[in-house]
């Protein structure tokens, strides 16, 4: 039996402190040339897809726009359509919110991307319900948090009804699609013939019980957070065990955890690089901002190179940072853990934040990193990874040039694309 194949995708580094902007090699986060470089490197590496994140409101920290991390993104779908012009095979995945869009418009936009890219589109569905983001949209914070997945599910069902209502031929019959649910009520004919992939590859990243069940029922790929082998294996089995309920088999769902990597010519080089990058990712100011997220109070008077504050966290103020994924853990408990860790290892604030937030998934020589990735995949910790480099636009280059050949030598990675579409790359069935 042939060896299980590794699937890889490249996440354009974005709006969080993983992305290092202070490095001299860090280029523009928003110039189109950066996207072109990144996508073309990914295609050279025979990746399944490039991935763009989205956030529909600039993040705020303590009531002001967060200024320590990269800020600003172009429009996801517009960039992906433009990238379709300068790449030929690599998939084009974008995060689009199900709350602040309507099914007909979004279905038409994704069907357009799928046509114009020759079947390379993917949609990472994210849900949100916050009034904070809603302030940029007509309906404001209209959705109750418990209705997020209801809306996402109905959005997807409605979009599928439109996508699959048509035959592939231009001018073919466009039947009236009627859809009524708790969130939507519309009817009409879809103006786009069925696209090369039938519909975009569907990616889901929610990790709650509801999110996992939604992913098992509907997604083609899961963008997970469980990148260590143990956590990965548990999540992998958990997800794949849910599939039979929906008449699906293991190969219908690709599990791709987010992962970071640092390379070096020798193991020592790699470790040294990793240490340097971790400190670049956690500047003194970023360390304080992280601590403030957990403490829920202004800690700007504290020295990042000094000990942790002696004041206790303010449990009432956990929303100090808005517009980003929040720590879902009990902050008082987290603060206790951090105090213990800092005490036992004699860590300053910054060292603690480096220690707790800036771990890299894979560190080593290209050969070692290939081995780590391959072993994780062979051990069913995942089907591959969505790699998040720390630099724009060159962050994928060394990986593509040095790690990919090692993976190929191991017989775990393609040496050419076998089909034109993203569904082909992921060996996924076409929807009917």
């Amino acid at each position: 039996m042939s060896r299980k194949q590794v699937h890889l995708a490249a996440h354009f580094p974005g709006v969080n402190n993983t992305t290092v902007w202070s490095d001299p090699a860090s280029g523009s986060q928003t110039d189109f040339a950066s996207f072109v470089h990144f996508a073309q490197a990914s295609e050279r590496g025979l990746f399944d897809f490039v991935f763009l994140a989205e956030g529909l409101r600039l993040r705020e920290h303590r009531g002001r726009i967060h200024d320590l991390d990269v800020v600003g993104r172009p429009d996801t779908l517009t960039v992906l359509n433009a990238l379709a012009a300068v790449t030929e095979r690599v998939g084009l995945a974008g995060t689009i919110n199900t709350t602040f869009n309507e099914p007909y418009e979004l279905a038409r936009q994704f069907a357009s991307l799928d046509h114009l890219s020759g079947g390379r589109s993917a949609w990472n569905l994210v849900t949100s319900s916050d009034a904070f983001t809603g302030e940029n949209f007509r309906r404001g914070g209209f959705l109750k948090p418990e209705q997020r997945y209801e809306r996402a599910g109905e959005m997807l069902e409605a979009a599928k009804a439109l996508w699959l209502s048509r035959a592939p031929e231009v001018g073919s019959e466009a039947p009236v699609v009627g859809y009524a649910s708790s969130q939507f009520s519309f009817r009409g004919r879809f103006s786009v013939p069925r696209s090369p992939q039938g519909h975009p590859v569907l990616i889901q990243s929610g990790d709650s019980e509801q999110g996992r069940e939604f992913g098992a029922a509907t997604a083609d790929a899961i963008f997970s957070r469980h990148s260590t082998v143990e956590a990965g294996q548990e999540f992998y089995r958990n997800m794949k065990d849910r599939l039979p309920r929906y008449g699906r088999v293991d190969t219908d769902l690709t599990i791709l955890p987010a992962a970071t990597f640092v390379l070096g010519d020798t193991p020592a080089d790699a470790a040294e690089n990793a240490e340097r990058i971790r400190h670049e990712q956690v500047s003194p100011q970023t360390a304080i901002a992280f601590l403030e997220q957990v403490w829920g109070r202004d800690l700007s008077a504290y020295d990042p190179d000094g000990p942790l504050p002696d004041v206790d966290p303010d449990p009432e103020n956990v929303n100090i940072t808005r517009g980003r994924v929040r720590h879902e853990r009990d902050t008082a408990k987290l603060a206790r853990e951090w105090r213990e860790l800092a005490g036992s290892k004699n860590l300053s604030i910054r060292e603690l934040i480096v220690e707790t937030t800036a771990r890299h998934s894979f560190v080593g020589t290209p050969k070692q990193v290939a081995e780590q990735i391959d072993e994780a995949v062979q051990a069913d910790a995942s089907d591959g990874f969505i790699l998040i480099p720390h630099l724009v636009p060159t962050g994928m280059d060394a990986f593509v040039d040095r790690v990919i050949p090692e993976l190929q030598d191991r017989g775990s990675y393609r040496t050419e694309y076998t089909g034109p579409t993203l569904r082909d790359h992921l060996a996924l069935p076409y929807p009917t």
């Binding site: 200024d67 800020v71 517009t78 379709a84 940029n136």
Partner: protein, 383 residues
């Protein structure tokens, strides 16, 4: 043209197989290709070869009618423009984007990003959704009267322009000493509160290469004319004849002056539907053929069915009558119609000195004599 030193502006509208409903049944129509990238790239490349200032990419949510004689399929126009932009330089890309059932915040970042991927060649043709069929596709509100739709469109343009300026050009500072990537004082909430919607801002997208991409409005209705005169950089007009076009242009200018704008800063383009043949008789025969395939509605405005020379002469009349600052060619059939314009008509206009022989470069705004505006917050004194 308004003055001799101002070159005649030329644009072309593309969409489907051309404006005539029978065009998709002509042998030259690439019907399967209407949803592919390559034919769109070829069309825009043709227009760029002719040195045209822009292509207007038609779009609306109007769904297919269900009548098998009509081709109602279409792709999203911003998607087409973005797909074409990186591989066809030297021409403006102006997708129509409706504002009735869409989100102003999404619209502004889509056009700003088109500007980014085209290196400053983006425009936006503002359009509204009038029909109950379009409203039914969303189910969020009923079809509204045209007057209301354009009042809302004016608000959307206003909010979009605010969002385009919500990042100052030098907001990204990458100041390692203070750990700051961005100067938050150069990012601005827009806090737009209109009758139809509100939006907080700032945009998630930095200020685009042109700062303010070109805003195009078709002044088809009196309500649209008011909005065009107040907000547009380029106004598309349609008229049954040259005399009426002259009147329409004066109406735009008068309305602009009334809105406190300098009318000379606004470019008026006259729509001219085009079907060309080597002789007038041949062109008329082609039209008859189209009409036999699928009878079309009456012309929406001036329609030239004849020779390239006849069209060049017509444009000369437009110029002499001060009926417009340029024309938007609307081919009845594509791609043949655009080929004929670029190969047959443009050389005549160049020969007559109405168009420069070498296509101009630069941003789309520059083609219309518009500088890159400073952001509205630039240079503000900060506490």
């Amino acid at each position: 043209m308004s003055s001799p030193e101002t070159p005649l502006h030329l644009a072309a509208e593309i969409g489907g197989a051309g404006r005539h409903p029978g065009a998709w049944r002509l042998p030259g129509a690439d019907v399967p290709g209407l949803v592919d990238a390559a034919p769109h790239v070829r069309l825009v490349r043709t227009a760029a070869r002719g040195g045209l200032d822009l292509v207007a990419i038609r779009d609306s949510f109007v769904p297919p009618s269900g009548d098998p004689d009509e081709l109602g399929d279409s792709l999203d126009a911003v998607a087409i423009a973005a797909r074409v932009a990186p591989v066809v330089p030297g021409i403006g890309l102006v997708p129509a984007v409706t504002v009735t059932h869409t989100e102003p915040f999404h619209v502004q970042k889509a056009i700003a990003t088109l500007d980014l991927v085209s290196s400053g060649r983006a425009g936006w043709e503002v359009a509204v959704s009038r029909t109950p069929e379009e409203a039914d596709l969303f189910g969020r509100r009923s079809a509204a009267p045209v007057s209301e739709l354009w009042l809302e469109a004016a608000e959307v343009i206003e909010a979009v322009r605010l969002l385009w300026d919500s990042w100052e050009d030098d907001a990204v500072i990458r100041d390692a000493a203070t750990g700051r990537y961005v100067d938050r004082d150069k990012l601005h909430y827009v806090d737009f509160e209109g009758e139809f919607f509100s939006v907080r801002g700032p945009s998630i997208t930095p200020r685009s290469p042109q700062g303010q991409p070109l805003v195009v409005v078709r002044a088809d209705d009196p309500e649209a004319l008011v909005v065009a005169a107040r907000h547009a950089d380029v106004v598309r007009i349609s008229a049954p004849g040259i005399a009426q076009a002259t009147t329409a242009r004066l109406d735009v200018q008068a309305a602009a002056a009334e809105a406190g704008r300098d009318p000379s800063g606004i470019t008026v383009l006259l729509d001219v539907e085009v079907l060309l043949g080597e002789t007038d008789a041949e062109a008329r025969k082609e039209l008859a053929r189209l009409e036999a395939l699928t009878p079309g509605p009456d012309p929406e405005g001036i329609r030239h069915v004849g020779t390239p020379g006849g069209l060049a002469a017509l444009i000369g009349e437009v110029v002499r009558a001060h009926a417009a600052d340029g024309v938007t060619f609307v081919p009845l059939a594509l791609p043949s119609g655009l080929d004929a314009i670029v190969d047959g008509v443009v050389p005549l206009l160049v020969g007559a000195g109405a168009r420069p022989g070498t296509p101009s470069s630069g941003t789309l705004r520059e083609r219309f004599g518009l500088r890159r505006p400073a952001g509205r917050h630039a240079g503000e004194v900060r506490a």
